[in-house]
Amino acid sequence: MSQLPILPLLPMLFGSIIAVLAGMWRAKAAQVIAVIATGSALLFALTGLVIVTRDGPISYDLGGWPPPIGIEYVLDPLSAFMTSIVALIGLLVMIYPVDAAFDLRPRKGVPLYPLALLMLTGLMGVMLSGDLFHLFVFLEIYAIATYGLVSLGGDRATFAALRYLLLGTIGSGLYLLGVGFLYFSTGTLNMADMAQQLGGMSGSPTVLGAMALMVIGLALKMALFPLHVWLPDAHSYSTPGVAALLAAVQVKAGAYALVRILFDVFGPAYTGFDGVPVSAALVWFGLAGIVVGSVMAIRQTDIKRLLAYSTVAQLGYIGLGIGLATPLALVGALLHVLNHAVMKSGLFLVAGGIIQRTGLKAIPRFSGLGKRMPLTMTGFAIAALSMVGIPPLAGFWSKFYLVWATIDLGNWVAAVVVVGSSILTMVYFLKLFEQIFVREPQEEVVATAVEPSGRVVGTVGVLATAIVLIGLFNAAIVSQVLGPLAERMLG
């Protein structure tokens, strides 16, 4: 299986290009190709995950050139884990009905699915790359595809996309500058090789500066507080399918790159703490993000905007986990990447279903939806309860590991914030629950609404099941995949 690392990427690469050409011929063909491509990518990624957790990482030399010379792809538990998440969420969004997901009827030559595929390709490339510059290239692929997809949401979304483009390009520019500093002080671009070279120069101002630049750049991409300014608009104005992709996997690519670079490339220079304020900054900004995101979410009346601010808060958890830099915290952060992907995409897809049937976005008008759409709303309830952190659902466990990690370190402020934010999350979801389940239908559109189409219910059902399963089997995930991974990265 020496070809394994490239296998998840190949169907995506070919699929997106073939979808472009097929889409010029038949409008429907592109979606079929997209489903096939993401489906086979998911299959390969899961196979990869099973094999690498058993046998250890596989390295792949592109073009047959050994690593420092050529570009290396690395399939290790972390990248296989992330790639699987991307492929899973991607597949569900591709199956989701096109009008509800993208608010655009497919037509000949409209590159809707090719662009969505290219975004997923970029995300997977980021996750597989073992080369600092190559990571930048794929960072830009998914970013550019995102700018196009966000603009589907209409006028405000276009404006949000432009603002995101300006900030995102500055972010990748800063990352590129960081890569430049590292290259000129080590003479290599390969991550493993660079980690070795950097081992002897942890105090050098260039390395510290490069670390700061790369962290700022990637934090912009990941929308970590206070660099999240582009996120609420871009996520809430884009169409439900795009928003699900953005919140579930797109911002996680930044988080992944941050984990990869801080722990695998900078390694001791980062975790050693001596005089390096980067990790402390991540902790405090993560906490601030949790508080600000939750408080802002409570104040929203538009469901998609509420979910967008909640994403800011959830990304704060991930930033906190990366900043604490202990194995437990890293497990919590990575588990939260998975949980948040499943929960938030589920919530956005539910919102898409509501919009598909009723056209409503304002929460005060949701009264009685629970009676009209029982299946969809059950999925919604599971995802929302998981977001709050009710055991034994998935969302509980990642917070549990994070709290454990903060108590371990004696960082009581962080522990209080994490627990307290659950209450804030409860507040904004209770508001929704009251409207949906307790009240009687008041609006004409609600009273006549029916369950969304089968594919909507199906995708939401898959995600809700996944939330329950991840919650029940989280011990297996942690002990088999994430635990050893965190130990290795920090050991």
């Binding site: 830009e140 700018y147 276009t158 404006f159 432009l162 390009t169 671009l189 919009i355 056209g359």
Partner: protein, 138 residues
């Protein structure tokens, strides 16, 4: 004095690149005209290209095309940053293309490219149809 001059000669590239980066960043962050912002972005990225390419210089090296002098690395400049910047230039053109497409679409709706005006207008509208008027469907 000569020491200072030598220091300047060895490092002046960084100073100039830094000035250009700052101008570009200022253009993106402080200007309100959207075209000017994209121009600032281009200035910013071109300054990054300069940073890389100037770093590839090796005293006495010529262009990295192997000629009859043989393939001793000391004879040529470092080709790797050249490749990286080739890539970055193409990426930059792509980003500018998408940015301009977004600009054109915004202009068609609003008839202006002033960021503050568009933002105010969108915010005003947001308040207006907060209550899910039928137009909000879709």
């Amino acid at each position: 004095m000569t020491a200072l001059l030598e220091l300047f000669l060895a490092r002046y590239i960084y100073l100039f690149v830094l000035v250009l980066l700052a101008i570009g960043l200022y253009g993106v962050l402080a200007k309100t005209d959207l075209v000017k912002k994209v121009i600032g972005l281009t200035i910013f990225s071109t300054a990054i290209y300069l940073f890389f390419i100037e770093g590839s210089l090796q005293e006495g090296g010529t262009a990295p095309v192997i000629d009859e002098r043989g393939s001793d690395p000391a004879l040529y400049v470092d080709p790797l940053p050249h490749l990286l910047i080739l890539t970055a230039i193409v990426v930059g053109v792509g980003v500018v293309g998408v940015a301009l497409a977004l600009l054109v679409r915004l202009y068609r709706t609003h008839g202006t490219l002033d960021e503050d005006v568009i933002a105010a207008r969108l915010a005003g509208r947001e308040v207006a149809d907060d209550g899910d008027t039928p137009e909000d469907r879709g």
